[in-house]
């Protein structure tokens, strides 16, 4: 109950400090493994942005934007994992990662994979350069649906 009140308080007395500081931004990358402790061959970015989104598509997203809003939630989970790691945040990322990759029938090689792992890469600006830093590596998980 106390936990729920803690979650509700920021809504009752909001801080409204949107975009006050532009903090380092996490990206989710994933890799398939042959076994639980197997070696990672290649890390791939989860949900890379499209090159271009048309104005018509933007208008459509005013009323129907579930994919992007889910991506924003995944970013929240990633930020929470970096601030105060919880099983909940890791599970939410895994659940959505596995669902999406499992639904991706284009890449049939995925079907052969037994384990999956993700990591968070923080992108920050140092001077004029962008730097990438691996900030979190999850424990590997069987590649099977979690819902």
């Amino acid at each position: 109950m106390l936990h729920l009140i803690n979650l509700l308080l920021p809504a009752l007395i909001p801080s409204w400090n949107f975009f006050d500081v532009i903090v380092p931004s996490p990206r989710i990358q994933y890799a398939f493994l042959d076994s639980k402790h197997g070696a990672v061959d290649k890390w791939l970015e989860f949900r890379p942005r499209p090159t271009h989104v048309s104005f018509f598509e933007m208008l459509k997203r005013m009323v129907w934007n579930p994919y992007w809003n889910e991506s924003l939630f995944l970013m929240s989970c990633a930020e929470r994992l970096l601030e105060y790691p919880t099983k909940h945040s890791e599970t939410e990322i895994y659940k959505r990662l596995i669902f999406e990759l499992d639904s991706n029938t284009i890449n049939s090689k995925i079907k052969d994979k037994k384990y999956i792992q993700f990591r968070l890469v923080l992108i920050r600006r140092e001077g004029d350069k962008l730097k990438e830093e691996i900030s979190y590596v999850s424990t590997s998980q069987r590649f099977e649906k979690m819902y």
């Binding site: 509700l8 409204w16 208008l59 929470r80």
Partner: protein, 218 residues
């Protein structure tokens, strides 16, 4: 408008996951009842209860500030329904109006005290590496620092002076139109569509607040 915003949010969750459907499907139905005005004094409490379930389900807001504004509106609507007198009802609705004003003013304040916002670097960083731009082509905006510097100051000045608009009659309407355009741009560029609808849903509270404060006084 609140009901429409809740339906829009809820149907986005009805695509895939069963344990989300069992929360968001009833929410969409109750939001529909809010729109048609059926038993609203019960419906707002049920929607607040569902809102708490959602908070618990996602261990926080699913969509940041948009979810927080949704809950704030519901809390204030519930306050209006349980208020023992008309004065307390006005306090509940006035609280929402004040929070709406603060949502702009505080956003402007935290920016103006940050040197990186004042020199335009913060907005360059938003486009260059933050998670928000909806496409890679939008990252190209970071190559136009002068334009982003101008945009930064337009945003800061507008957010800071927004509360003053309540004092000047029809200026408030103009300020709300500009604010809606600002949210629309955020929805297009950063995919923050839920913010657009839920902030618009709170606008009637500030229009009422202006009437209550200044028409009553005059």
């Amino acid at each position: 408008m609140v009901g429409f915003a809740f339906i829009q949010q809820s149907i986005e969750h009805l695509r895939i996951y069963h344990n989300e459907k069992i929360i968001f499907l009833p929410r969409a139905v109750f939001a529909g009842l809010l729109i048609v005005g059926f038993q609203t004094n019960w419906v707002v409490f049920i929607l607040l209860g569902v809102g708490l379930l959602i908070l618990n389900r996602f261990q926080g807001p699913y969509n940041g500030g948009a979810d927080r504004m949704s809950l704030l509106i519901l809390i204030c609507l519930c306050g209006i329904h349980i208020a023992p007198t008309k004065e307390w009802q006005e306090v509940a609705l006035g609280y929402l109006a004040v929070q709406l004003m603060l949502s702009y003013f505080i956003s402007g304040w935290v920016k103006v005290i940050n040197p990186e916002w004042r020199n335009g670097q913060a907005l360059v960083d938003v486009f260059r590496f933050s998670a928000y731009p909806v496409s890679e082509s939008l990252r190209g905006w970071s190559n136009h620092p002068q334009l982003l510097l101008m945009m930064s100051w337009l945003i800061i000045v507008f957010e800071l002076v927004f509360p003053l608009s309540i004092v000047f009659g029809d200026i408030l309407i103009i300020a709300l139109v500009i604010a809606a355009i600002f949210h629309f741009m955020n929805a297009c560029l950063f995919g923050l569509n839920r913010f657009f609808w839920i902030w618009l849903a709170a606008y009637p509270s500030i229009l009422w607040f202006q009437q209550r404060l200044f028409v009553t006084i005059s």
